[in-house]
């Protein structure tokens, strides 16, 4: 936020972080090179499953310039980390469970020595048969990944059922069935995991890291390392991208361990791209088997789905991701008879974790293709069938839950239906050149917001009038690029009638800001924004009251808060905020507020584990996406020519930031649909860098049209709902449906590469001849 204007809600204010970022002044966690710092690095297993026999560190230890080589023996605490279940070691003791498992931590004077020392650490192990396929993993005979888990390789399973599904399928006029398979997706944030830590003389373990979850990390580090939580401080600068991949511990426990072994020495760790690919969590690969039945009039009558999420060897967030997928598996439709089953399964593949959409992109990709397939069977337009079955406010969703939050899906679908991309599609399609086919596809999307019914979902805002007469906002939630820091300033500035020169921001820091949960789950601005509105109003009220006393005003209306000062309108007298701050007690210059997000009052299940893992949500954002694609019949190459996303994310506070979220989400979804394939063979990653893992470039993403329908959500800050994830859900199914419209083929998996498309085209041709 720049300039002298008072920020308005609903108007674009340029991001306050843009200036420092675009001039290279902004310091990210990886940008610190303290004097005399040490490099820390990790030796990784390189095998997917095996029993540790010995970890040989002597040679590395003997290398000049090596300060320490640490193994599990050196971890003072539980050596366990994890968000829900603590089933992941900081450093491996008995068993390796995936190739990226950390075996030893090396501290060295410089990075070359570190690299050489890491090469000298060797792991002697006895190989174990690896669990590589989530459906195979469920068989009796499968080797076990987590011995302590009472359910074998099942981390979590869930079942949601309404109506009478078996009978209902018999009553359907059209039934479609299909299986889908989606691979790992790598976040590929541009800033890989990193930061630095130091154990200070006063016993405080301080670290500056790139994370979405400073407060949760703090307790994880404390437990794993046996360090007093009160003596850990985590500071989080702006992150260079995260998208869910920094939801949870990456370098934190390792850096902490390194630092406590070398008191008073700053220690830096920065994973290179290959290590980031190897060790970080990814979007869960997913297998889905769907069956959808409808009546002749187009109403959905029955749905059955079995869904397998491959969560890798650790819980991380695998149970919660699966639960959110399960909850969204029926899409934003009213369906009277539904049976949904999902499993989150332990394997020896890379770790599955949070990634924008959180289990929802996979189920949306399947369900939205099913919708098109059934529409084709009963000869109904893809938009009409969606309009016919859409959820409505006050109505029920596919889980039989009454929707109490705002629902703008109908408005979104209608906007798509009125858009020239839709109304003029036949003409556009007819203009494809020789050996090229064009098609238009749509998809509905929805994304629940927040943590669900059990885990407390709260924001704690704090705002302070400083001695300089500025308002300082203590942001409890990380800004990893979404722009919520700017939105905070916009909200506070609007309420307090201050321009940016009178506003300042403290980024998340466990020693200064208040815990407000994770920067995830499309909750950040909703939850923290609500808290900040109240805190700002409290402070405003207090200041005006004090000023009214000073001015001996008769009515509160006579007093106005202006930029940098308070004015008594009838007399024209003013008091400047620094002067007011001086006469106030500290307790008066600070206001805080806790906002707790509303939770659902009814439950689609009595399964306590599912509730704990977040089912159900009560507020959802919605949207309708449309993709126009062109397929090259000679190569199978698919080009997205135009893209439209109509989104119901409530009222818009900052249109530019909303567009950023929608456009960025679409680009990642487009990569997921067409290019991104994190290939794992025998538990080993084959895509090790950005030359083999293909993310969209500026040539692959067309101009994207984003239209908000601004239906206010009464519980949201100024009517807003979450917007961070939803755009990720649409591109894969919309593009798949567009390819089907163009060529009459379906790939049933992603990415839809030229090879796969070409093969499907060939098979279709052979089938026809």
């Amino acid at each position: 936020m720049t300039g002298r204007e008072i920020p308005k809600i609903g108007k674009t204010v340029p991001r306050q972080d843009a200036l420092s970022k675009v001039t290279g002044q902004e310091k990210y966690a990886v940008d610190y090179y303290a004097r005399d710092f040490l490099w820390a690095g990790v030796k990784r297993a390189g095998v997917p499953h095996g029993l540790v026999k010995k970890i040989e560190t002597e040679k590395a230890q003997a290398l000049p310039g090596v300060i320490k080589v640490l193994t599990y023996k050196d971890v003072p605490g539980t050596n366990r980390q994890g968000v829900v279940r603590k089933d992941q070691p900081v450093l491996v003791k008995e068993k390796v469970r995936h190739c990226g498992d950390p075996i030893a931590l090396v501290l060295a004077q410089d990075i070359e020595t570190l690299r050489r020392a890491l090469d000298l650490v060797t792991l002697c192990y006895e190989p174990l048969p690896a669990v590589l396929d989530p459906e195979e993993a469920l068989k009796e005979s499968a080797p076990i990944v987590q011995e302590e888990n009472p359910q074998g390789n099942i981390l979590l399973k869930g079942n949601l059922e309404t109506g009478n599904v078996d009978l209902a399928f018999k009553e359907c006029d059209a039934i479609v069935e299909a299986s889908f398979k989606f691979p790992h997706q790598e976040h590929a944030y541009l800033e890989t995991e990193g930061g630095y830590a130091i154990l200070k003389e006063d016993g405080i373990l301080e670290m500056t890291v790139s994370t979405q979850t400073p407060f949760r990390d703090r307790s994880e580090v404390a437990e794993a390392l046996g360090w007093d939580q009160e003596k850990i401080r985590i500071i989080v600068p702006y992150c260079g991208g995260a998208f869910g991949g920094k939801d949870g511990v990456s370098v934190q426990t390792l850096l902490g361990l390194a630092a406590i072994q070398c008191p008073n020495r700053p220690v830096k760790m920065w994973w290179d791209r290959e290590e980031s690919f190897l060790a970080s969590s990814k979007r869960h690969p997913c297998r889905l088997h769907y069956r959808l039945g409808a009546k002749f009039d187009g109403t959905f009558h029955a749905l059955a789905a079995s869904i397998y999420y491959d969560t890798g060897p650790y819980d991380h967030l695998g149970g919660v991701v699966m639960a959110l997928g399960l909850e969204h598996a029926g899409g934003p439709y009213q369906i009277p008879n539904v049976r949904l089953q999902a499993w989150s399964v332990y394997t020896n593949n890379p770790i599955g974790g949070a990634f924008r959409g959180f289990g929802v992109p996979q189920v949306t990709a399947a369900m939205e293709q099913m919708v098109d397939m059934v529409a084709e069977k009963i000869n109904l337009s893809p938009l009409e069938i969606r309009l016919r079955n859409r959820v409505k406010k006050g109505g029920k969703n596919s889980l039989g839950m009454n929707l109490t939050g705002s629902v703008g899906l109908e408005e979104c679908l209608i906007k798509v239906r009125e858009h020239p991309f839709w109304t003029e599609k036949e003409k556009w399609k007819s203009l494809a050149g020789p050996f090229r086919k064009r098609g238009v596809g749509v998809a509905s999307v929805m994304q629940g917001m927040g943590y669900g019914p059990i885990v407390p979902d709260y924001g704690n805002a704090k705002i302070e009038l400083t001695e300089e007469g500025r308002f300082r906002i203590y942001s409890g939630v990380v800004d990893m690029g979404q722009g919520n820091a700017t939105t905070c300033l916009q909200i506070a500035g609007h309420i307090l009638n201050q321009d940016s020169s009178h506003l300042e921001l403290v980024l998340p820091d466990t020693a200064r800001t208040l815990p407000s949960g994770s920067a995830s789950a499309s909750r950040t601005t909703y939850t923290f924004g609500n808290a900040l509105i109240e805190a700002s109003q409290k402070l405003k009220h207090r200041l005006l009251e004090r000023a009214a006393g000073l001015f001996m005003a008769e009515e509160m209306e006579e007093i106005e808060l202006r930029p940098g000062r308070i004015k008594h309108v009838p007399t024209g007298k003013e008091i400047f905020l620094p002067d007011l701050a001086k006469i106030l007690d500290e307790s008066e210059t600070v206001a805080t507020h806790t906002f707790q997000a509303p939770v659902a009052k009814e439950f689609p299940t009595e399964d306590q584990a599912l509730k704990l893992h977040g089912i159900p949500h009560t507020i959802f954002s919605y949207g309708a996406h449309l993709a126009c694609v062109e397929v090259d019949e000679l190569t199978g190459e698919v080009e997205v020519k135009r893209y439209l996303a109509v989104s119901d994310c409530g009222k818009v506070i900052n249109p530019q930031i909303l567009e950023q979220q929608i456009q960025g989400g679409i680009a990642q979804g487009l990569g997921y649909a067409l290019y991104e394939d994190f290939i794992v063979q025998g538990g080993k990653a084959q895509t090790r860098n950005l030359s083999t893992y293909i993310v969209p470039t500026s040539l692959d993403v067309p101009d994207l049209e984003s239209i908000p329908v601004e239906i206010g959500e009464p519980s949201g800050p100024f009517g807003l709902k979450g917007a961070g994830e939803i755009a990720m859900d649409g591109p894969l199914p919309a593009i798949a449906n567009a390819i089907a419209d163009a060529c009459g083929i379906r790939i049933f998996r992603s990415p839809m590469t030229p090879q796969r498309v070409f093969k499907a085209l060939k098979e279709k041709e052979e089938g026809n001849s």
Partner: protein, 154 residues
């Protein structure tokens, strides 16, 4: 070995081993951390700098290659009190999200507009295609470069 070159308008001399990567030299030895590293393999463009006005990947360059050259990093693009029009446009048009690609993007765009002051949107997309951005979907970056080009002509 001693290496002397012009860095952001100032002549400097620095001692560095001959195999020192330029990105490390800038970030670690000269504290110019505006130059980012996203891959270290020439794939992402985050480490872009200008050498004699041409965009170069500093993760693929070694210190001796700077000898006698004119180097501009993101810190040296703006003048003391004024942003470069491309930087200004990036701020205004919302081309910055996490911002980790921004220094490289801005420098690549500077080089692009120097070569082609009047690019079409497709030419802009072509010109920045070596710079990877995971956040924006590129549209607002293209908008910003387009606007900057217009402004720089006046």
């Amino acid at each position: 070995m001693k290496i002397s070159f012009i860095l952001n308008g100032k002549k400097i001399e620095i001692d560095a081993p001959p195999d020192r990567r330029v990105v490390d030299l800038l970030r670690e030895d000269l504290n110019l951390t505006g130059t980012k590293e996203g891959c270290g393999e020439g794939e992402c463009g985050a480490c872009t700098i200008l050498v004699n006005g041409e965009s170069r990947l500093s993760c693929l360059m070694l210190a001796p290659q700077l000898e006698g050259q004119k180097v501009t990093t993101i810190e040296g693009l703006a003048s003391a009190e004024k942003l470069h029009p491309i930087q200004q446009a990036f701020v205004e048009f919302g081309a910055v999200q996490c911002g980790f690609c921004s220094p490289g993007m801005v420098l690549a765009s500077t080089n692009l507009l120097q070569k082609n002051p009047n690019p079409s949107r497709a030419e802009i997309r072509e010109g920045i295609s070596g710079n990877f951005c995971r956040c924006t979907g590129y549209q607002k970056i293209v908008d910003a470069v387009e606007a900057a080009a217009r402004k720089m002509k006046i």
